[in-house]
């Protein structure tokens, strides 16, 4: 490996940027960097910002980061925008809302394309967050795509998940009923300068009061991200949540679950790759054709593929001996 790791550990931002690219592209080289730097991670507090498109996630992320800078803390930001399902290209525009931090040496903003991942994140988000963590940022903020009501993945990745709502949109309450509210550690009513903010706060309170007795009630905070209003209270609420995670043992539990999730999902990818390699493309196509022609059921076909791996493995070992 080149001197990038050393430069990274010396705090050089260009080295950080380069390593993120290699990790994001999931190259073998990227995995080497991750291996070298992973031991340095585990110190940051990760914050997820989710909510509908246009709800103010990027603006809020920028305003929150500015609040952390006032408190003398450093912040890494990973902002995800969607990739086109047709061309696989993307326009990443979250930086537009984070201009005030553009030249702050204590802030690093990285735009990421969703690259087809489900759940509002990017395929390599965990790895990129680990790299930012290893760089030594006090906080790493992850902004999700914000496409829909099923963006629950973020709660597994971030220690504190913030759900952004807006007054006067009506469909918010629908989204909340759909279940996303359950992943929120903190609820934010952003655009509090618009009419209806207090109404939304009481609607949210009413909704939360329906939750089973003894379950956690996330705090509800009003913010006007464009003016930086409410950021002090938001940073305090995040700090309080951190303390709560530590004192209830949830922190360890969250980390263990996240580790399990990461290991299993990587293992799944490795196995799939092995399956693809054990069966030549024309054999795979033939198998798939039989399923399409209803001559074989999908389950049996998949088992055939998996069996091919088991057959090819011992051969590979023998060859090496």
């Amino acid at each position: 490996m080149d001197d990038l790791v050393q430069r990274f550990l010396n705090g050089e931002r260009r080295a950080l940027a380069r390593i993120i690219s290699r990790v994001e592209n999931e190259t073998p080289e990227g995995r080497e960097y991750l291996r070298a730097l992973f031991p340095h991670s585990g110190k940051t507090h990760t914050i997820g910002i989710t909510g509908g498109a246009g709800s103010g996630k990027s603006t809020l992320t920028g305003a929150l980061a500015a609040e952390y800078r006032r408190r003398g803390k450093t912040v890494g930001i990973a902002a995800v925008d969607p990739s086109s399902p047709f061309t696989h290209g993307a326009i990443l525009g979250d930086r537009i809302r984070m201009q005030d931090l553009a030249l702050d040496p204590g802030v690093f903003v990285r735009s990421m394309a969703g690259r087809g991942a489900l759940g509002g994140l990017a395929p390599a988000i965990d790895e990129v967050v680990s790299i930012m963590d290893a760089f030594g940022f006090d906080y790493v903020v992850i902004e999700t795509v914000g496409a829909g009501q099923d963006e629950v993945e973020i709660a597994g990745t971030a220690l504190t998940t913030i759900l952004v709502n807006n007054p006067g949109t009506g469909d918010d309450i629908q989204a909340l009923k759909a279940g996303i509210i359950e992943i929120a550690d903190i609820l934010v009513v952003n655009k509090a300068d618009h009419p209806g903010a207090d109404v939304l706060v009481s609607q949210l309170q009413a909704l939360l009061s329906l939750a089973p007795k003894g379950s956690r009630r996330p705090p509800i905070l009003k913010t006007t991200a464009t003016r930086g209003e409410g950021m002090d209270a938001l940073a305090d609420a995040i700090a309080a949540h951190r303390v709560e995670l530590e004192t209830t043992g949830q922190l360890e539990k969250h980390r263990a679950e996240d580790a399990r999730h990461q290991v299993l999902s990587i293992a799944r990818a490795i196995l799939l790759e092995k399956i693809r390699q054990a069966t030549p493309e024309h054999e795979l196509q033939a198998l798939v054709d039989r399923v399409a022609a209803r001559q074989l059921d999908p389950h049996s076909a998949a088992e055939e593929l998996a069996a091919a791996v088991e057959q090819s493995e011992p051969r590979a070992i023998k060859r090496r001996v």
Partner: protein, 135 residues
């Protein structure tokens, strides 16, 4: 068009200075997106420092400057200097907008590999990027 997870060409499209003409920059950003690139668009009113810092943090392969105000000979050298200062010395640089023919030479000398003027077919821009960036 490339596979969803394949290594993507990353492009920064930036508008330096007080120039508010952003149609061209947006059209170019969209064309590159449709060509399969990941395009970081930072909006109008960017200082040379902001552009260079964004190029560094986003680790882009290409930096494209759009300008219609006539201030290119004043602003572009400063962008190039800020990029150099940060060690961002291996990006493909190009630009477009209202740029008189006689300014072609000084911009080429600065390191701009192409200048696209009004009326350019955006497909030519996409083609240029794919021909000059190898990933």
């Amino acid at each position: 068009m490339t596979a969803p997870t394949a290594t993507k060409i990353r492009v920064l499209i930036a508008k330096p200075g007080l120039d508010g003409h952003d149609r061209g920059a947006k059209v170019v950003a969209r064309a590159l997106r449709d060509g399969g690139c990941e395009v970081i668009y930072t909006g109008i009113r960017q200082t040379p420092e902001m552009i260079a810092e964004a190029a560094l943090q986003e680790d882009v392969d290409v930096v494209g400057l759009s300008i219609l105000s006539g201030a290119h000979l004043e602003l572009f050298p400063r962008v190039v200097a800020e990029l150099k200062k940060r060690g961002v010395d291996d990006v493909l640089l190009f630009c477009g907008g209202i740029i008189p023919d006689e300014d072609t030479k000084p911009l080429e000398d600065l390191g701009f590999s192409a200048i696209f003027r009004p009326g350019t077919n955006t497909q030519d821009i996409v083609k240029f990027v794919y021909e000059h960036v190898t990933k």
